[in-house]
Symmetry: C2
Subunit: 113 residues, 2 copies
Amino acid sequence: MPDGSLWTALADPHRRNIIALLLERPRPVGEIVEACGLSQPSTSKHLKVLREAGLVRVHQQAQRRVYALDSAPIAELDAWLAPYRQLWNERLDALGRRLDATSDATDSDTPKD
Amino acid sequence: MPDGSLWTALADPHRRNIIALLLERPRPVGEIVEACGLSQPSTSKHLKVLREAGLVRVHQQAQRRVYALDSAPIAELDAWLAPYRQLWNERLDALGRRLDATSDATDSDTPKD
DNA sequence: CCTGTACATTCCTTGACCGGAATATAACCA
DNA sequence: TGGTTATATTCCGGTCAAGGAATGTACAGG
């Protein structure tokens, strides 16, 4: 169940780095270890956090464990973001109108914003 | 400059709560304190984190300090999310094709996904 | 069966963060 | 200027996450 673990998982730069690596293509742990410059245990622990947050999935292949992104939580983030996206659209919209209004009006009702 | 402070700021549930409150409308600190159920100092500290992450702005009004959302970092988040959004669109697309294919094909190559 | 490879897990120490209490600061008002 | 309200900052104890070292586990090959 998606509690706050998604945000917690993404709060760490190394984990965001791993996520970015997996965006290019799925990778076994060894590759991630090299790319991150972290120790193998530390990397495995980060992978565990990402796994428990539902951000990645493992697919065993011989002795390798190949990690890949799972897109579901990303969608969740996007859903969280939606209301704020509206806000910023309104802002841009308002800015546009203001710029437009300055063409034929004196700044009598816009104190100092 | 936006370092990782944005993610760190949003990692805390209380701070996300504050953000949600400010989405409705700008509010003075006192209101936020009541709504959060946290102590005033603790709330002020969270507000400081949000401020330093660029997520909120203060507008002094008499003795009150009215906090409001700043939309810029939200846009930043959205930009970060963009590449992953692509990934998940591809997934949905693939799913759609698979559902479509099941209409005239036996499930011979879809083991247990 | 034994060895090596590829990961995961545990133990431990350190540093960061959280929350509350007390205190400091700033703005308004008489 | 002194007092009150509104907010910020500091200090402090407790908790939690991160990283390294050591160890455990699973799978392949000889």
